[in-house]
């Protein structure tokens, strides 16, 4: 990180008008970068991946109409356009906000630091920077969104965000912080993409606090080009009878480290992880869904699917840990990889760690290719080999995608996958 100095970190903090404690957290992380190791990933060697060579581009132009945004960005929006935040590199360039109930916060961090400092101080940067990548994120964090939903409030329409990377060696470090108080409900969609070739890095973190009886759904759709290293670290803490749903669509073409960690703290909490990936060319991905059951009667389900084409590689890790005392809990997981070409690679690592007797758990994992007899069956009805393969792949992923509530989001994911399949 010799290319950057403490002064630059200080400037970054000041440009967002951050309070002193936030700057201190940044500087602490910046100092730790050199000494912290890279995370150890199952069957993926990331030693040569680029996490620290990048430029901080600044953006001045903003957009007042969605039509002015590039079509790649504009097509990401769902039917409803009420609540949108688009961040290009370091700045918010387009924003709408309509009809949010009293007390609901959906805003950029720069704004949040000024208006909601007490809340931020309670929740932001609470996770330890366990490795070099998370320390880089904490030191360079730029923008992102803060979402706060008060008690008993249901946010009817999804909150949509786009993180948009543009420029040579460009990097973004968005942070999404979601606090859902008791019995509240909210859905958030976060899209990640780049528009020019040559961008370098997206290092993002999502932190979620699901209060008692609250229900939070967060969908991330990543579609970076092949020059980008795409790291996303998701964390959720779920309170009593809370309900968390992660929808993870890893559709980037470069290098991917995608992880979600959910702690089911309170009794009766539940989490669903629905993860799909489609890789083409030389894409390499390490995708981890990790769940810790602490409370009694907590339940979890991981459904992960990866389709790998050309020379793409996918390592799919599903980890369910049921801690001592989490009695009457249930943890289920299924991870499947489908390889389309001889040089495509995949691995599914199912891990169940159980320290409590009175629980149920199950796992299924498979790595395989399209079954020639299934192909024969579909073709015997007149469907071409190409169309039959598409149906099989779509079916393979749809056991997960079909559960995504938004039709527009489903269609958008299908469209991206279709594009990769035919390219």
């Amino acid at each position: 990180m010799s290319a950057f100095s403490r002064e630059q970190i200080t400037q970054l903090s000041q440009s967002q008008s951050e309070p002193k404690w936030a700057l201190e957290k940044r500087l602490e992380a910046f100092a730790a970068i050199e000494n912290l190791p890279l995370p150890k990933l199952e069957k993926t060697n990331i030693d040569r991946w680029n996490f620290s060579q990048f430029q901080l581009h600044q953006v001045d132009a903003t957009f007042s109409q969605p039509e002015q945004l590039p079509v790649e960005v504009n097509r990401l929006f769902l039917e409803d356009h009420s609540n949108i935040l688009v961040q290009k590199n370091d700045a918010v360039v387009y924003q709408t906000q309509k009809a949010l109930q009293q007390g609901v916060i959906f805003t950029s961090f720069a704004n949040a630091f000024q208006q909601h400092e007490t809340l931020l101080k309670k929740y932001l940067f609470q996770q330890e920077t366990a490795h070099r990548i998370s320390a880089i994120h904490q030191a360079f964090m730029q923008g992102g969104v803060f979402v706060y939903v008060p008690r008993n409030v249901t946010v009817e329409l999804p909150l949509q965000t786009v993180f948009w990377l543009a420029g040579e060696e460009a990097a973004i470090f968005p942070h999404i912080l979601v606090v859902a108080e008791e019995n509240s409900r909210v859905e958030i969609v976060a899209n990640f993409l780049d528009t020019d070739a040559g961008a370098a890095l997206s290092n993002s973190v999502i932190e979620t606090y699901v209060g008692q009886g609250a229900k939070v759904q967060i969908a991330t759709v990543s579609q970076f080009g092949d020059s980008v290293v795409d790291v996303m670290d998701r964390f959720a803490q779920v309170g009593r009878d809370g309900d968390m749903e992660w929808i993870v669509a890893d559709l980037s073409d470069g290098r991917i480290i995608s992880k979600s960690t959910t702690n089911l703290e309170g009794a009766g909490g539940h989490v669903d992880v629905k993860s799909v990936a489609f890789g083409a060319n030389e894409m390499r991905s390490n995708i981890t869904s990790e769940i810790f059951h602490f409370g009694t009667h907590t339940t979890s389900d991981i459904q992960a699917r990866s389709v790998m084409k050309d020379k793409a590689t996918s390592i799919l890790n599903s980890i369910t840990k049921i801690e001592k005392g989490a009695s009457k809990s249930d943890g289920q997981q299924t991870g499947k990889v489908l390889m389309l070409d001889p040089e495509a690679r995949g691995d599914a690592n199912p891990i169940l760690l159980i320290d409590e007797n009175d629980v149920t758990a199950g796992h299924a994992a498979s790595v395989g290719r399209i079954d020639p007899l299934t192909l024969f069956y579909l073709m015997s009805r007149g469907i071409s080999k190409n169309e039959a393969s598409k149906l099989i792949i779509r079916g393979f992923l749809d056991t997960v995608i079909a559960d995504i509530p938004s039709a527009a989001l489903r269609a958008s994911i299908h469209e991206t996958i279709e594009g990769k399949f035919t390219s």
Binding site: Y377, L378, M379, R381, G395
Partner: protein, 261 residues
């Protein structure tokens, strides 16, 4: 269009270098129903699979034409679009693909781009045929064959046949595992398809199905070929007397494809 014709001449087929079919001759015209009967292990199902182009079977000799076109030169999907249909004994289960999406893709594959069936028309047609087969409407939105019972899979095969309206249908042991009520329903479906525009080959162990679908021709299959042909009365005699008299008459000791004599 002229009368459909499927012409099989001296067809020889191997699996992993073992010859199974040893010269099959059969000509089927539109309007005809042919029953191919025979004990287990004689190669009947191999004939069905090889005609459809199953990847495991290799044609080593002979010819097959459909309406004068060389069937064996065609890919599996081309064979289907040329009018061949195989109701399979063990159809695949395809997760995530609904029955109706699959059927619509199949119909549209045949109709071609720009001539797709309208969704309304498709739904009407599917409802109608599912009624004939007494299938619950939930089958339209269930994943293709996934979790279907043996009998449900067979009905689903017949549903596909009724929707695709092929010129030639081969029913490979469609009666196995069906109770008598289901058998009647499946037979009703096949009978509804009966027309001068369509030919049918029924492969079966038992005469039972032929009580409900009356064949025009009956062929006995042994040692990987047709050894005897006749009319419906042949099926009745087989039902009453079994296959031993055929073996005796033809001097066959071992009727299977692995026969020594």
């Amino acid at each position: 269009m002229s009368t459909p014709n499927l012409d099989i001449r001296d067809l020889q087929v191997s699996i992993e270098d073992k010859q199974i079919l040893k010269g099959v001759n059969l000509s089927v015209n539109g309007g005809e129903i042919h029953a191919i009967m025979g004990p287990n292990g004689t190669g009947k199902s191999t004939l069905a699979s090889a005609l459809m182009g199953h990847p495991k079977y290799e044609v080593t000799g002979g010819s097959v034409t459909i309406d004068g076109e060389d069937l064996l030169e065609m890919e599996v999907d081309e064979r289907a679009r040329a009018g061949l249909f195989l109701a399979m004994q063990y159809p695949s289960e395809v997760s995530g693909v609904t029955n109706s999406d699959f059927l619509r893709s199949a119909i549209n594959a045949k109709r071609g781009e720009g001539n797709e069936i309208s969704l309304m028309k498709f739904i009407r047609e599917m409802d109608k045929q599912m009624d004939v087969l007494e299938m619950d409407e939930s089958f339209a939105t269930r994943y293709l064959n996934e979790g279907f019972s043996g009998g449900e899979k067979k009905r689903n095969e017949i549903l596909q046949m009724m929707m695709l309206k092929p010129r030639f249908s081969i029913l490979d042991e469609i009666d196995s595992g069906l109770d008598i009520d289901a058998l009647k329903i499946v037979a009703a479906g096949v009978n509804e398809m009966r027309s001068p525009e369509r030919g049918v080959i029924i492969i079966t162990h038992y005469q039972r199905l032929l009580n409900y679908i009356k064949p025009d021709f009956v062929h006995v299959f042994m040692q990987g070929r047709i050894v005897k042909s006749g009319g419906p009365e042949l099926a009745e005699r087989l039902e009453q007397e079994g296959y031993d008299w055929v073996k005796e008459e033809l001097g066959i000791v071992d009727e299977t494809v692995g026969h020594k004599v």
